[in-house]
Subunit: 176 residues, 2 copies
DNA sequence: ACCTGAACACCGTTCAAGT
DNA sequence: ACCTGAACACCGTTCAAGT
């Protein structure tokens, strides 16, 4: 599920188990000690495979993002949104891993190409791709943390309804 | 600097000192123990003023955001961007505090009103305001963590140049 | 009303040493 | 090559008790 597909190995076991723990308990509970515990090893053993926790989380984020196959700009943005929505706390994970340079979002480059193919010039394609990715990440981040906030009963009663995802995306990708 | 302006009080001292520590050492170093230490008090004393760390950070975030006075949509977006760029790690602070419901971004509502005043209908105004805020937060987040990453020498050499802020904003607010 | 002191249950990371 | 065991230097939070 992670690399370009090959002999699994201990490193991929670690990423797989981290993903399970993420789904089961969320990002705040995802500690090195818990990952190690779930694998029956010592926390220190993880440091043979990864230099630090951030790098390990980057590998998990890359797994969440996968290899998108969609080809139109809107389809790529929706693919990204759906992958993020599909896993617990994925927006926060990906957002911080990508900002820190520990994972790459393949949708970015694909979106840029798709915009070029649709006839946009270089600057316009780059702006649209970057805005679409940042908007999507932000939108899902907000949605996921909103849902955890109200699950905790801390439903701030005056919080305004977020605008629908598609409306914002349309503004960004509208001119194709 | 924080509330609507009144008798300071211990609570505002805490927020002010937290802001100084944020500027001086960054968000990862901003612990309850350090804030308390800088005030010459025990960490547990902070819990008389705030129920938990997230709430305290929410108050700090509100202080960073302030009370914007700009009135056009673009001016409001730029005001938000500049406030975030003006303080260390501010984008991450505000992004997570606002997503968790511990602070409000006043620019959101003002942007919506400004879009309405510029002739947009309700749905369009809401979409533009939300997209502009999410885009701005994401753009600055990326910029700030990029700069910390390369300060640490971890300058990922293949990281693509981010598109200029104004280009993306133009896509979102272009139709006024 | 506001704070101390001590404790609880954790963290990420390093490093010598084992196999 | 891969992992253990123990340690270091921290965390956020709770709570009885003080003034």
């Amino acid at each position: 599920m992670s690399g370009t597909g090959a002999k699994a190995g201990r490193r991929d076991d670690i990423v797989a188990v981290a993903l399970e723990l993420l789904d089961a308990h969320g990002l705040p509970e995802l500690s090195m000690r818990r990952i190690a515990g779930a694998l029956g090893m010592q926390p220190s053993a993880l440091y043979w495979h990864f230099p630090d926790k951030q790098t390990l989380l980057g590998a998990v984020a890359a797994d969440v993002l996968g290899a998108p196959e969609a080809s139109g700009p809107e389809a790529l943005a929706l693919d990204l949104r759906d992958r993020l929505l599909g896993r617990r706390d994925a927006a926060e994970l990906v957002s911080s891993a990508s900002a820190l340079g520990h994972c790459r979002i393949p949708h970015s480059e694909l979106l840029r190409s798709a915009a070029l193919a649709a006839g946009a010039d270089d600057a316009r394609a780059a702006a649209a791709a970057s805005a679409a990715v940042l908007y999507t990440l932000g939108w899902v981040l907000h949605a996921q943390q909103r849902s955890v906030a109200e699950a905790l009963g801390a439903a701030s009663p005056d919080a305004p309804e977020p605008a629908p995802y598609a409306d914002g995306l349309e503004l960004i990708l509208g001119g194709l």
